[in-house]
């Protein structure tokens, strides 16, 4: 469903993502792990066609994410790491706007907005200007806007950062439900606990290079027998550091 081929992004002399090869099958929940500044957000933005790859290719459902951006957007929902909304639109209005931009009729968009506000526990905030939202509320509103058009693919940048434990659990349950319904989810996170519970497969990226990838159990067996995902993560990223530095 999602395919990255030799995907590379450089900013001037700095290589943020280096020849990334990755494939995510339909219905999979793929966790993209890595320390801060590893290239997670850059990769996700290339998948959304927001950044243009320096070389290589990113494709969703066989469509090129840059060249066929418009078609790709019909099937994809996106949550950025820090969602910023129009300050002077209310939560409900933002959801309606997003719905209409995805070709829902006005009344459908309104009904869908109400439904999502309910689902993400934002009823009270629906009539409030987005500028007044806390980070957690913005994240929830962002997630709600990402699923307005019921996309097959979700690309989520740190979906639970900034959420309280209750909301984080709700979001996790929501994502699990969507995955059960056949959606493909590609999420970046550095919350290993969440990745462990949610993801069918993970990839660990460090300094722009994909260090390893596969089902969690397999990685555990390979890198830290009997340990947790955290042990795997530390083993992989620390092993990679001297290489990268040297």
């Amino acid at each position: 469903m999602i395919a990255l081929e030799q995907l590379t992004k450089t900013f001037g002399a700095f290589t943020a993502v280096d020849r990334l090869d990755l494939a995510v099958a339909q219905g999979e929940v793929f966790g993209f792990l890595g320390p801060n500044g590893a290239g997670k957000t850059t990769t996700l933005r290339m998948l959304m066609g927001i950044l243009v790859p320096s070389s290589g290719r990113a494709a969703i459902g066989g469509l090129d994410c840059t060249a066929q951006r418009v078609e790709v957007m019909r099937r994809v929902g996106y949550l950025p790491d820090v969602p910023v909304f129009y300050d002077y639109l209310r939560g409900a209005e933002i959801l309606e706007f997003v719905g209409e931009m995805h070709d829902l009729t006005r009344s459908d968009a309104r009904a869908r907005a109400r439904e999502l506000l309910e689902e993400f526990d934002l009823r009270d905030a629906g009539e409030e200007f987005a500028v007044n939202y806390s980070l957690g509320m913005k994240k929830k509103l962002g997630l709600a806007s990402a699923v307005v058009h019921r996309p097959d693919v979700l690309i989520l940048d740190e979906p639970t950062t900034g959420l309280d434990p209750g909301s984080a659990r709700d979001v996790r349950d929501f994502l699990q439900r969507r995955a059960g319904e056949g959606a493909t989810i590609f999420l970046s996170t550095h919350l290993l606990d969440m990745a462990e519970r949610l993801c069918t497969r993970v990839g660990i990226i460090h300094k722009g290079v994909l260090q390893c990838g596969g089902p969690i159990d397999e990685l555990r067996a390979r890198y830290a027998a009997g340990g947790s995902l955290e042990d795997v993560f530390l083993a992989v990223t620390r092993a990679a550091t001297p290489d990268a530095a040297g």
Binding site: M73, R74, Y88, E93, E96, N132
Partner: protein, 779 residues
Amino acid sequence: MIRATTAKLLRLWWRRWRNRGGRLVALPGMERRGAPPKPTRTGTRPRGAARSPWLYFAIALLTLPFLHWQTVTDLRHRVDARILEWTTTQESAQALPADAPMVPADVAKRRAIALLALLLFVGVLFTELSQETLSAGGWDVEWLATLPIGMGELFTARLVARTLMSPLSFFWLVPLLALLSWESAPWWAVPLLVLAAALPLLLLRAAISVFFEATLHLRVSQARLRNLKGVCAIVGTATLFFGLCARQTLADAALGMGPWGALLDWLPTGIVVRTLADAGSPGRGGIALAEGVCALLQALAAALLVVAWLRRSTRDGVVAGGRRESARSAAPARIGGSPFSPFVRRELKLLSRDFNYLSQALLVPLIFVGFQLLNMRSALVTQFDSLPAICAFAFGITAYTYQFSCLRALALEQDSLWMLATFPRPLDAALRAKSRTWSALIAIYPAAIVALGLGHVDFAEFKAGQLASLGMLAVGVPMFAFLFTSLGVISGDTLVSHEQRQRLGMTQLLSLFLIALYTSVIGLGDPWRCFGATALTAALTVALWQKAADTLPHLLDPWSPVARKLSLADGLGAALVFFVLQGLIELLLRVGTTVDTAARLFLAYAIAGVVACALSIGGLWRFEAGRVPRFFGSGASRAVALGVGAGTAVGAVAVAAQWLLRQAGFLTRGELGLLRGDDFGWLLLLAVVAAPLCEEYIFRGLIFGGLERLWGFRRAALGSALIFAVVHPMLSAPTVFLLGLSTAFVYARSGMLLGPIVTHVVYNAAILAGTHWLSTHSA
């Protein structure tokens, strides 16, 4: 004594202010220190060197004293004139002194200046409130209060900082005080006097500003705060402009103020003006000193009161309050059953709720223009008595307004731009909707101006041709919305890169130039010129839009190089180089040599054509390898056949048209004079060699080719033929338009320039032959 903590705070604020690049004085080219340099797009954008802020300061320091001198002198002059006028009326009419402006002249003059100082003070206060105090990004006191500092000290330090760091005061108030000191005291005393006069005003401004800042942050929600910011910006700008422009009103007010004048005298600004006046009068030094002390005491009292009040208000902690509740109570606004697209509705909602946005886009330009008009009311009545003049004025205002809306269309999206990138729609569709919305909104201005202006039109002088101005206005209003939107996108003012932000200044200059050009043609009211200018501006708009659309996929990624493709802009650029060079060379040959007319025309045309085409081909090779329009290729014989056929057909039509024009008396024998004797050879070279080569490369290869990528064959052929016709004389335009259509057809069918070149050769040869025949048979 300033304590160590205060000094540290002052240092912190000074750094912050300096790092923000002195944004208060809106220095466009100033380098933001601390911002990491980011690479530009390779190959597309030159890296501009950071300009020094000192240039702006130097310009300001040189011009502002002159501006103040001019204002003050004019004020005094107007007071004198009013008194003289009043005295004359009194003497002639023997009227009773009913509404006598009987304040002594010197008092009235001083009060007029005090009024000016007051307006400048208020203007600076509100403008700085909107720019600095209420700026978004939280209230730093909330954070500073977590450090081990007393609130009293914190606010005192803030007060000192605001007193010293007030760039607008140094631009608007201090030069006025310096001017007044210069008039009354010896030169060596001026700095001391300015310092003594400025200190109370700066301190008072700081006290009011700190008071508003704290009170508003403590009590008003974020959303309302931004709206207040908009209100402050409007009030501030309006007051500053009113002070500087509405001089007659100030002079009249100073004369007719009566007892209120005394109040004005005792306001801090009034006292300071009096201090400076008295300091120069012999024997009034003591009084001046007392007045100075009085002003300082007033300011100190205000400052102490503010600090005490803020200490009291923050006893229970500093939390910027009311962030959420104010909006929750508001009823949800709906534009019910609206026929607009969701994007347009969003735009209108944002505009109606965000006063800051509304005022920047719609009101500020109106204020700028409005106050200019206040000062030249009489000129308006005499100047704006014809339809072209009114249309030009209406267009000027409209286009000026676009500078604040369309030109900044993307900047206004700010950080929410990512949302547009996630929708399954091309980004340029969103921009089109935006341009349409803005042009529809702003069209109210020109419509109102034309409606009002029609009352002043002197219809005795009216000619039907002048309606062209109205047409040009009607087309120009929506067209410039698109033009400026695309210009804004290309100049990239949303992109993070610092160098790109600097180019906005250039873009604004360019947009002003385009406005001036278009406005002046509207003012001419000549149909053919109006049509030509409109068509060329339309071509420019399409070219820029194409460039902008090419840029859009890279909008959020300033690091990726934009793939260059052949576009209309390449064609227009080459055409521009060609025409300018042709004119220059022709002029040089005429002045510097004795070459006769026909040879001169040929040489100018050929040299300009060769240079323009060579530059264009070289540029295309360099940046867009492989995209140069082809001259030859396989199937050349078919191209030649097509060319001969099309050329013969259109040539026959042209000759017939020429014959008709001649019969109708539009063409005289004089116009055919070139076709005699030696000149004929040069003309033949020009018509069948130089013109087909250059024009086909530029108009078919570049312009039609660029348009075809955007529009497809049919519209591209029409568009390129229209541009081709517009650059020809009016009488030949219809047949040239036909030639443009047929050459485009031949080019598209044959895929190489050889075809249209042959068409053009045959067409020109037919015209020459036809003309020759007509002239010999009529002689």
